[in-house]
Assembly symmetry: C2
Homo-oligomer: 208 residues x 2
Amino acid sequence: MDRNDISLAVVKRLPRYYRYLEELLDNGVERISSGDLSNRMKVSASQIRQDLNHFGGFGQQGYGYNVEYLHDEIAKILGIDHVHNIIIAGSGNLGRAIANYANFEKRGFVVKGMFDCNPELIGRECRGAKIMPMEEMADFIRDNNIEIMALTIPKTSANEVARMAVEAGIKGIWNFAHMDLIVPSDVVVENVHLSESLMTLSYNMNTR
Amino acid sequence: MDRNDISLAVVKRLPRYYRYLEELLDNGVERISSGDLSNRMKVSASQIRQDLNHFGGFGQQGYGYNVEYLHDEIAKILGIDHVHNIIIAGSGNLGRAIANYANFEKRGFVVKGMFDCNPELIGRECRGAKIMPMEEMADFIRDNNIEIMALTIPKTSANEVARMAVEAGIKGIWNFAHMDLIVPSDVVVENVHLSESLMTLSYNMNTR
DNA sequence: TAGATTGTTAATCGATTAACAATC
DNA sequence: TAGATTGTTAATCGATTAACAATC
């Protein structure tokens, strides 16, 4: 099966598998069966095996899965076995929260620079990344081999900044603006729509 | 159909419908057909009609949907037609970003208080909400009719704080900690796993 | 009335689960 | 070898799309 044919549902589960395997690894667990993992994760063993077999046979009959091997293979599938250079467009609380989150760096996502329109913020530092004026962003992307932009600015200018970044060569946008970005089809957008998430919470509280 | 039987897929689309209707409303659009909305949102007209009819018939043959009416009905379905009192456990950058986000208040989510373990933060204010010591949280929940807790603390103490909040009467948890919380079945948890979202972005960049 | 568009049923498509042969 | 557990096929279940009668 071609990688591009794998359903979003399967892909969305991979990071969760990765998280559980990391935890097992930290606890010194060497091997695990799909049945055992199923109990911990509250998903069916069948689904775990089915999901993994989209990408190859990582287990062994009668044994199960080697935790470290499977962990590393999923890292490769997710593309987190190598470094990704990131910039953050928008250096408000949310942008700074992302910059300060150490775990991303552990996974190979390195924040190389931050940008903002507010002159008061220019020059400050966040975990080693300097805050620069928005006008310098395009050149920075080109000069520093930046692949990913986290977009944490208000929606009014989100599409404009996205267009600028795409022109400068950005390949992926982690979008926190409350809107659907318009980008060329070869640019990947991952949305984090916090207000929609909060409304889902509200719905479920309303309904149960 | 019972509300509880409506699939997660449908529910997750409701806030996005709401967002588009709000935009139409702001632009003074009075009526819209499923076909027209379909073009804007890039989902099928059939799906829009099917989704909405889980909750009732909001349209009119030959006319379409009245934007304001549908907007308000979806607000009711989502439970955002009334105020929800929120607290934020964890007053780091992420907690403060949430507190400062004005749009949540517009939707009826009012931050009544913030909490942290760090003595340096105690007493500060964020948009009118005071930062208090974590030990005072349980009493605050009881005394101020708090329904929702945003959880923006490291995963090491996330479950402990969650347990405490649930005991004090919290009904919904907006969980930003990178773990699966253990709570009674009548407490609703909505997860925002940022690192998983970032890995999904990486996967898609790796694959396309 | 004629045209437009919904609400709803039926058909299709895809994802999950069950079952079991393969094999370590 | 016997037991365990995978990889994979087949069966089931659910979600999406298509079609069209109802009706504004």
